[in-house]
């Protein structure tokens, strides 16, 4: 998976631990962000034709190419449903999250 991994956040101890101004390396993730998802997209791999439209249109970049066509990074998917709406072969269903 060619995606940045969530790394543990280390609180700065000294002022010099801060970057010079509010800028830091891209893709430095210290937290997951999917807590407000109500419906989760589920891909039917048999129906999927691997056209990659969902990969292109996911507004948060949470759909990635995998050995098995495409997969979804549920640590960051907000459940917006854009992928399900855009899928031309109805291979993505929005399934209610169970609490």
């Amino acid at each position: 998976m060619n995606r940045p991994k969530v790394t543990e956040f280390k609180k700065a101890k000294h002022i010099n631990d801060y970057p010079t101004g509010p800028g830091f390396q891209g893709g430095h993730l210290v937290d997951k962000n999917a807590g407000w998802r109500t419906f989760r997209p589920v891909i039917d791999k048999d129906a999927c034709v691997n056209c990659l439209i969902c990969y292109m249109i996911c507004p948060d970049g949470t759909i990635y190419k995998s050995d098995d066509k495409v997969d979804i990074d549920y640590d960051f998917c907000k459940g917006c449903g854009v992928c399900a709406n855009g899928c031309n072969v109805n291979a993505i269903k929005m399934v209610k999250e169970e609490l």
Binding site: I15, T20, G21, P22, G23, F24, Q25, G26, G27, H28
Partner: protein, 397 residues
């Protein structure tokens, strides 16, 4: 130095010549009197190929400073210039540039702020932006303007500083007055000023998340960093002044300059071009045996606290000439100087002279009046704390 290196130019043209020597990659500026000639000359230099830079025609000063930040954020050298209302229109971007640690260099032509509308000079524009996190230097003549354009980049881009830099010239009195200046060789300036390098750089190789927000848990630390960088810049300013002098032959004495202060009973403090007039008055009064001295404040941020304390420690009385007023209190330079004074174990009494606002001339007679007031105060006589000089009408009663 050869004859061909000597030019007869205005203050604005000297700024353009100095800026060209610093090799900015992009110039983004909006014309405004009395800065306009800087931008005109730079656009001519880009057109004739003597300056290899992009010239961005922006639609406002807010865009000018925003573009300059963008330039800096890809590791390129940026230049902009403005004045008065233009500087105020930039105000949001000024804080953004300093907070983002983008070492943009800007020339500001000091001009009165509306209303009443005025195109003439005073310091109320830049002094109202003291807290925006920019280094502020005030130059006395065209030569110092040219030299400071080059030094500005070296100081602003220093890895311990990375703070934007404002070079201030008195509107008209300096921007439009012609003087002879010596222009350093490009090779010498290239040796003095290395290419810009910054940790805050957008690139494909090392993608960055830039200009992010912070929660209350981190915001103050970033602000402390800005403060520390500005405090650290004092040493850098002195080093760069020394190095520039060693290589190019002109020294400006760092944070402040002094004239006849060693045995002075009273010292007047000035900023910018009026310093030249005051120097002549000091000579005249010294010829009469009066112990007067002159302290030229070059930098308002960082503020030359220690440098001022060292010079005034043996004086009885000091005066501050402000071409500005913070309505409801006193001149802003005076407020800053007083704060430096009260940190001394014992300090001279201080007085404020508000003069030259909205382009009114500050004459030799005006400055002599200030010195005579200070000499009276030194004898224990009572004088006004904040005095408006050369008012056209009676203001008391």
């Amino acid at each position: 130095m050869t004859e061909k290196n000597r030019y007869f130019v205005s203050g604005d043209e000297a700024v353009a010549l100095g800026t060209r020597l610093a090799r900015p990659h992009v110039i983004s500026a909006y014309p405004i009197t009395p800065q306009t000639i800087v931008v005109e000359r730079l656009s001519e230099m880009v057109e004739d190929g003597s300056l290899k830079a992009e010239f961005m025609h922006v639609e406002s000063e807010h865009s000018a400073i925003s573009a300059a930040m963008g330039v800096s954020s890809v590791g390129a050298r940026s230049f902009t210039a403005t004045s008065s209302q233009g500087l105020l229109y930039m105000a949001e971007g000024l804080h953004y540039a300093s907070g983002g640690r983008f070492p943009v260099v800007m020339m500001n032509a000091n001009r009165a702020t509306a209303l009443p509308w005025s195109i003439f000079g005073d310091l109320r524009d830049s002094l109202s932006q003291l807290d925006s996190g920019w280094i502020q230097v005030y130059v006395e003549d065209a030569q110092e303007a040219l030299d400071m354009m080059i030094q500005a980049y070296k100081i602003a881009e220093h890895k311990k500083v990375l703070t934007p830099f404002m070079v201030n010239l008195d509107g008209f009195v300096l921007t439009h007055t012609y003087e002879e200046v010596e222009v350093p060789d490009q090779e010498m300036v290239d040796q003095f000023l290395p290419p810009f390098e910054t940790p805050n750089k957008m690139s494909i190789e090392k993608p960055m998340n830039m200009g992010f927000s912070t929660s209350p848990a981190d915001n103050m630390e970033f602000k402390f960093q800005q403060h520390k960088a500005m405090m650290d810049s004092i040493a850098v300013i002195k080093e760069v002044d020394q190095e520039y002098g060693d290589m190019i032959g002109r020294y400006y004495n760092g944070m402040i300059d002094t004239y006849q202060c060693d045995d002075a009973e009273v010292i007047l403090m000035t900023l910018g071009s009026v310093t030249g007039t005051a120097r002549v008055v000091v000579d005249a009064l010294r010829a009469k045996g009066l112990k007067v001295g002159l302290l030229k404040i070059r930098y308002m941020r960082p503020f030359p606290e220690k440098e001022i304390q060292e010079v005034v420690k043996n004086a009885k009385v000091i005066g501050v000439l402000d071409k500005d007023i913070s309505f409801g209190f006193e001149g802003t330079i005076y407020t800053n100087v007083n704060s430096a004074l009260v940190r001394m174990q014992s300090h001279p009494q201080s007085y404020n002279f508000v003069a030259g606002m909205g382009g009114r001339d500050v004459s030799k007679a005006d400055i002599e009046e200030m010195f005579m007031d200070l000499l009276h105060a030194a004898k224990g006589e009572e004088i006004e704390r904040v005095k408006f000089i050369n008012m056209g009408v009676e203001i008391n009663g």
